[in-house]
Each structure stands twice: as structure tokens, then as C-alpha cells.
């Protein structure tokens, strides 16, 4: 028991790093993903194809590879080359990657809203942009809650990938202790921490779903 109290401090520090990556990714990738989804379904064919290609690239290669590329290889790319410290490099990789997944979730949500809603907006005099903002996107939110819950839970666990940039997230902190103290107890405590975070997310999304249950489609 004493041992657990001894490791809980450093593990909480690791959790703080994990949560920073989690929230920074969420806050930046959601708007970017929404923008990508809107371009993807727009009439601008060239832009739409570019976004499709982007999504293919981001979903088609490992997130770890993307992170390694941004941290180690990007500085040597001509013209655009820039050297990022570890935390920003990780965030950029996570945001670019997760925005691609979010974009597809948003696209599915937007496209599940029927044509009749656009027509109703049109005959009432709403512009396309107004119809999107006031009618379609609010309805999208309800429909994407279950997949978004999935994706955010995946994100909280994916944050452990930042160990490749030698950042001390929850899992890396635990692993350090396991190797130092020859006990697997830190893994158990780390697992409990992940489960608590996941529980909070699940609960939060359930509350949102309940809130949106005041109406049926």
C-alpha cells in the first residue's frame, strides 16, 4: 500500500501529460475535422478530392510514423522544414491524424440529415450557410455522439504513443517504475487511471446523449 502512495505522485504527473495531449488534440482536431468534412462534401471538386486524399494518407499510415516524421524528418524537408519541440510535434501529429477521423464522422452525420431539411430551409429563405449552421449541424451533433465517444476513448489511450518522442506520459511513467522497482504494480495503477478517464468520458457522452434525447428525428 505504501508503495502505491509512493508511485501515485509521479503517475499523476504522467496523467497530466496524457490529459494535455488529449485536450489539445480534441480542441484543435474537432474544428479542423469539421472544416475538412464541409470541404469534402462541398461542390468544389478539386478541394473535395484533396481532402479525400488527405484523409486516405492520415488514416492509411500509423500515427506513430506520422509523429516520428514530424519530429525527426520534417526539419529536413526543403522550404517547409521546421524543427518542432517534442510536445508541439506530438500535438501536430495527433491533430492532423484525428482531424481525418473526425472529418469522416462529421461527414456521416451531416449526410444522414435528409434532403427535406435543406429544402425546408431553402423555401423559408435561409441561405445554404444558414441552413447548415442553424438546421443541419445541430442535428448532426446528436447523431455523431456514439462514434465520437468511441473516438475520444481511443484518443485517450493513443496518447501513450508519445513515448516515442521520450515524453513522460502515464504509461511511460509506469513502465519506468516497473523496470526500476521490479514490480508490475505501476501497470495495474496505470490501468486503473486509464479506466477512470474512460469512465468519465463514457459518462459525459451518456449525459450528452440524454440531453439530446429530448427530441427524436
Amino acid at each position: 500500500m505504501d508503495y502505491i502512495f509512493e508511485i501515485i505522485g509521479p503517475l499523476l504527473q504522467g496523467t497530466a501529460v496524457t490529459l494535455q495531449v488529449f485536450f489539445a488534440t480534441l480542441v484543435l482536431a474537432v474544428p479542423l475535422g469539421l472544416g475538412l468534412a464541409l470541404v469534402r462534401i462541398s461542390r468544389f471538386t478539386v478541394a473535395s478530392r484533396l481532402v479525400s486524399g488527405y484523409i486516405w494518407l492520415m488514416r492509411g499510415t500509423p500515427l506513430m510514423l506520422q509523429m516520428l516524421f514530424i519530429y525527426f524528418a520534417l526539419p529536413f524537408v526543403p522550404y517547409v522544414g521546421i524543427r518542432l519541440p517534442d510536445f508541439p510535434a506530438a500535438i501536430v501529429a495527433f491533430v492532423l491524424n484525428y482531424a481525418a477521423y473526425f472529418a469522416e464522422i462529421f461527414r456521416a452525420g451531416i449526410q444522414s440529415v435528409g434532403r427535406g431539411q435543406y429544402e425546408a430551409g431553402q423555401v423559408l429563405g435561409l441561405s445554404h450557410a444558414q441552413t447548415m449552421r442553424r438546421i443541419v449541424l445541430p442535428q448532426m451533433v446528436k447523431r455523431i455522439l456514439p462514434p465520437m465517444s468511441n473516438e475520444t476513448i481511443t484518443l485517450i489511450k493513443d496518447t501513450s504513443l508519445i513515448y516515442v518522442l521520450a515524453m513522460n506520459d502515464l504509461l511511460r511513467a509506469a513502465r519506468g517504475m516497473v523496470q526500476r522497482d521490479f514490480t508490475t504494480m505501476p501497470f495495474v495503477v496505470a490501468a486503473a487511471f486509464y479506466l477512470i478517464m474512460t469512465l468519465v468520458l463514457t459518462w459525459g457522452f451518456l449525459r450528452l446523449e440524454k440531453k439530446y434525447a429530448v427530441y427524436d428525428d
Binding site: 423555401v123 429563405g125 435561409l126 442535428q139 427524436d216 428525428d217
Partner: protein, 258 residues
């Protein structure tokens, strides 16, 4: 000099439209006068709904001219090129027409009241303080004031359609287009919707109604148009249309209804 009252509310000339190489409208023309109620009837696939949807640009026409209260929405030049008014202009012209759909198309995420005040506030820039009493007045008119805080999913089909009528009226249109407003309703619910429409007609609203309700066409409309195969087959004042249909196709259709 023609006075304002003789100018048609809607003037559609020689409207043609194809869907994937199939002619759905083969030169349909119509003039709708102020305060007139025209019922458009005909078998499924006759093009009557498509024609209605062309008038407010839910569908674009291939050829022909559409004028709303004397303003040109679409026109076709001598080379057969059909042009529409610029986007903003077209939206402003189409706003003179309210529309009620077969499938209601209420906004499910908004309450009944919010459904009605949405467009006046967002499109017209009306204040909430002005829009709410207007919406309440319209809801009282269609008999649904007590439902103002309900979401559409809690309403019956007939109630939904009455809310849809109130929502369209909130934009204070000069013309109301109805696209089979009772076709998605159980028979016992059509009456309440038809009552609201009849009330509107009594207030001299200009209406164009695509319908299968022959009683409504006979009792409420001033003129009846029968469409089949993408064209107008017959057009008569309501009374004589049902008493003395001239065209064999019209007679066959009316007989078939029994």
C-alpha cells in the same frame, strides 16, 4: 395601363424539364391570379409535384419562363438558353412563396415555437420579441398554441402539418404552395389540415395546391388543373371541371377515383 391587381402572382410559361433524359414537364404554362386557389390534380408521375417545385427553385427548369409578381426568376432566350436570377435575387423572389411539403420537413431539433420563429429571425432579422407573438398568433390560428414547447416528434401527422403551415405563414408570403399536404396523413387526420387550408383560402391567400383530395379541389379551389404525362390536359373552373370534364383522359381519371 394595367393595374397592379391584374398582374399575375405567378406566371409560368412553357416550362420544360427532363430527369435523366425523360421528359417530366413538356411545356407547362400557368397563371395564378391574386387571391386565386388552384388545385393541381393528376396521377402519380404526371409531373404535378415537379412543376410546383420548379416554381420556387427546388428544381431547376431546362426551358421556359417563370415570373413571380412580375419579377423574373427564370427566363429563356431565343437560343433556348435558360437563365436564373442571381442567387440572392432568386432567394428574395422565392421568399414571396411559402411552401408546405408532403413530409412536413419540420426541424426535429427545434420546438414548435422555435420552428416558426427560426426563419423570421434568421432571414428577416426580426427580433425575438416580435417573432414570438407572431408565432403564437399563427399557432392559435391553426389551433396548436398549447403545443408551442413540444418537439415535432411528439405531434401527430395532422398537427405537424398545421405547424408547417404556420411556419410558412410566419414569413408572410404572398403565395402558398402546397405539395400533397395530406398525402402522408391517416384519413382521419386530413380534415384538420384541410380546415386550416380552407381558412387560409377564405382569407384570400393565393394558393397553388397539388392534391389528391377531390373534395378540397371541388369545394375550395377556384380553378382545377388536371396534369398527365408532364402536361396540362385540362383546366377549368372547379364547378364545371367536375360536372363536365371535357377531355377523355380527365374523365378516365375521375371515373377511376370512383
Amino acid at each position: 395601363m394595367p393595374s397592379m391587381t391584374t398582374e399575375p402572382m405567378i406566371s409560368a410559361r412553357n416550362i420544360r424539364k427532363q430527369f435523366g433524359g425523360v421528359d417530366v414537364l413538356r411545356g407547362v404554362s400557368l397563371e395564378l391570379g391574386k387571391g386565386e386557389v388552384i388545385a393541381v390534380i393528376g396521377p402519380s408521375g404526371s409531373g404535378k409535384s415537379t412543376f410546383l417545385r420548379c416554381l420556387n427553385q427546388l428544381e431547376t427548369i431546362d426551358r421556359g419562363d417563370i415570373e413571380i409578381e412580375g419579377e423574373i426568376l427564370a427566363s429563356t432566350d431565343s437560343h433556348g438558353i435558360c437563365r436564373y436570377a442571381p442567387d440572392k435575387e432568386a432567394r428574395r423572389i422565392c421568399r414571396k412563396m411559402g411552401m408546405v411539403f408532403q413530409q412536413f420537413n419540420l426541424f426535429p431539433h427545434l420546438t414548435v415555437l422555435q420552428n416558426i420563429i427560426e426563419a423570421p429571425i434568421t432571414v428577416k432579422g426580426m427580433s425575438r420579441e416580435a417573432a414570438v407573438p407572431l408565432a403564437q398568433e399563427l399557432l392559435r390560428k391553426v389551433g396548436l398554441l398549447e403545443k408551442c414547447d413540444s418537439h415535432p416528434s411528439r405531434l401527430s401527422g395532422g398537427q405537424k402539418q398545421r405547424v408547417a403551415i404556420a411556419r410558412a405563414l410566419a414569413m408572410e408570403p404572398d403565395i402558398m404552395l402546397f405539395d400533397e399536404p395530406t398525402s402522408a396523413l391517416d384519413p382521419e387526420l386530413t380534415g384538420e389540415v384541410l380546415r386550416s387550408m380552407r381558412q387560409l383560402a377564405d382569407e384570400h391567400m393565393t394558393m397553388l395546391v397539388v392534391t389528391h383530395e377531390m373534395a378540397f379541389a371541388r369545394d375550395v379551389s377556384s380553378r382545377v388543373i388536371f396534369m398527365d404525362g408532364g402536361e396540362i390536359v385540362e383546366e377549368q373552373p372547379a364547378a364545371s371541371f367536375f360536372a363536365n370534364p371535357l377531355q377523355p383522359r380527365t374523365r378516365a381519371f375521375l371515373n377511376h377515383l370512383g
